[in-house]
């Protein structure tokens, strides 16, 4: 069988030829080319290109993103992700510049997206703990609020994405109840949380494009601050507070419990940036609701990871340990939803 992947000469030559034709270049040489570790759903390759002639002549540091062997059904295809990333780039969101999208499997064996590489690190443990990166943390939290607001400026009125379920059909709460039911694993603490959500639901807000995984660990920072928002594979129409709740949820603070904005800063800074750019007021009760939802969503995903280990044959350490995370997430859910306790302002 022919190996078209980027591990072999043939795949690299095919990539170079594809880029040459797309950019109208005279020639393209592939320099350093290596796969990044991690990425259960996608593979990311660092690829250095040397381009002679054409609109992009010169050295170009890129990332090639392809599907990993085991995709997740709910995540977008690379082409869909490219459309979303392009819309975000055009809306002024700080993202890696999308360059090319190739759906032809004949080139490197699977569809891929080519993006300009950005510097920095995304590792949550490092971003939340290392003061040498990310710049001033309150400034970073405020900046992230601004970035989220720019994403939320993309609405069904301004954009059409035919591959996304229509905004009128979106029901995040029921979606995750369905996922939980499909697992066939009765989890009473999650059921309690879902019931609480059902009883405390507020009238729906206008729909916007939500990133759906906007959290520490999915943006890159260097010594000066933010360099880009990553991982657009789950983006879709949703209520704006869903992204805010996901960003602030305890499960994405990486142990920095006293820093509600993603383990890096204050709610005030995040909200300030968000409100200034969006012109929309953050409602602390809605944030609380979506933080409870965020924990349920993450717990369901963690249970799914456990099933990937048990039934999907993916027997890796990170997957099996994620499969043991639901207990601590359920702890937060139960604490947030005491009997008789309804919606309160998100404070802590």
């Amino acid at each position: 069988m022919t190996d078209l992947s980027l591990t072999g000469e043939q795949g690299r030559a095919a990539l170079a030829d594809y880029v040459r034709a797309a950019f109208g270049a005279d020639s393209v040489a592939v320099g350093d080319c290596r796969k990044l570790s991690g990425g259960a759903i996608q593979e990311n390759w660092l690829v250095d290109l040397e381009i002679l002639g054409g609109e992009r002549a010169g050295a170009l540091a890129t990332v090639v993103r392809t599907d990993a062997p085991s995709g997740v059904a709910v995540s977008h295809s690379r082409a869909d992700e490219f459309h979303l990333l392009s819309a975000a780039f055009d809306a002024g969101v700080t993202v890696p510049e999308p360059l090319l999208c190739c759906e032809d499997k004949a080139v490197i064996g699977k569809p891929f997206v080519l993006m300009r590489r950005i510097g920095g690190t995304a590792l949550g443990q490092k971003v939340t703990r290392d003061p040498a990166i990310g710049g001033d943390r309150e400034v970073l939290a405020e900046r992230l609020g601004e970035e989220m607001a720019r994403i939320h400026a993309i609405t069904p009125a301004t954009h059409r994405f035919d591959f996304l379920p229509g905004p009128e059909t979106v029901d995040s709460l029921n979606e995750f109840r369905t996922h939980l039911d499909a697992l066939g694993e009765p989890r009473s603490a999650l059921e309690w949380g879902l019931r609480w959500l059902e009883r405390n639901r507020l009238p729906a807000e206008e729909m916007v494009l939500a990133h759906h995984d906007f959290r520490t660990g999915n943006y890159m920072v260097d010594e000066t601050g933010l360099t880009g928002i990553l991982d657009w594979e789950f983006a879709g129409w949703a209520e704006p507070h869903e992204d805010i709740g996901w960003f602030c949820a305890m499960c994405w603070r990486f142990g920095q419990r006293d820093k509600p904005a993603g383990g890096i800063g204050s709610r005030e800074a995040l909200y300030r940036g968000y409100e200034r750019v969006s012109g929309r007021k953050v409602d602390p009760k809605r944030v609380y609701f979506w933080e409870v939802f965020a924990h349920i969503r993450w717990a369901v995903i963690a249970v799914q990871q456990g099933h990937r280990f048990l039934k999907g044959g993916e027997r890796t350490l990170d997957i099996v340990l994620t499969g043991r995370r639901p207990a601590e997430i359920e702890y937060e859910i139960l604490r947030m939803t005491p009997p008789g306790g309804g919606l309160v302002d998100a404070v802590y």
Binding site: P186, S188, L194, R195, L321, R325, L334, P338
Partner: protein, 129 residues
């Protein structure tokens, strides 16, 4: 006839301690996470050996308290979920009793899977008004 000693817990405890003290300091930075995850997996297994029998008893007793005992034990966890979804535990003393039992259960399970997280979370929540 008696079981062999040192037992499984001794073996795993020693393996985790050696990984931490002897191997971890010499592992390149980009592989440290894998070793840390291996240590965490071993330590969780050791705690589970200690606590699992008690946890299972506690879970069975709680289920017997909150669902109809005509239901076979293996169907009780699902039955409890159904009752919660139907709103049978929405309010009053029954809701408080169930919430207490659920808290007891997640505390016990988190004590096995991530005791450090549990301590930090308990300290944080106890400081809130």
């Amino acid at each position: 006839m008696i079981p062999d000693t040192p037992g499984a817990k001794d073996l795993l405890d020693t393996a985790a301690a050696d990984l931490k003290a002897e191997i971890l300091p010499h592992v390149p930075d980009d592989r440290k996470l894998t070793v840390l995850m291996a240590i965490a997996a071993i330590q969780t297994s050791v705690r589970e050996m200690d606590f699992l029998p008690r946890l299972e008893d506690q879970q069975q007793a709680a289920l017997a308290q909150f669902v109809d005992n005509d239901i076979q034990p293996e169907g009780r966890a699902q039955a409890l979920c159904d009752l919660i979804r139907e709103g049978k535990y929405d309010s009053g003393a029954a809701a408080r009793a169930l919430h207490d039992a659920l808290m007891r259960d997640v505390r016990a399970r988190t004590a096995i899977s991530n005791p450090k997280y549990l301590s930090a979370a308990e300290a944080d929540w106890s400081n809130r008004p």
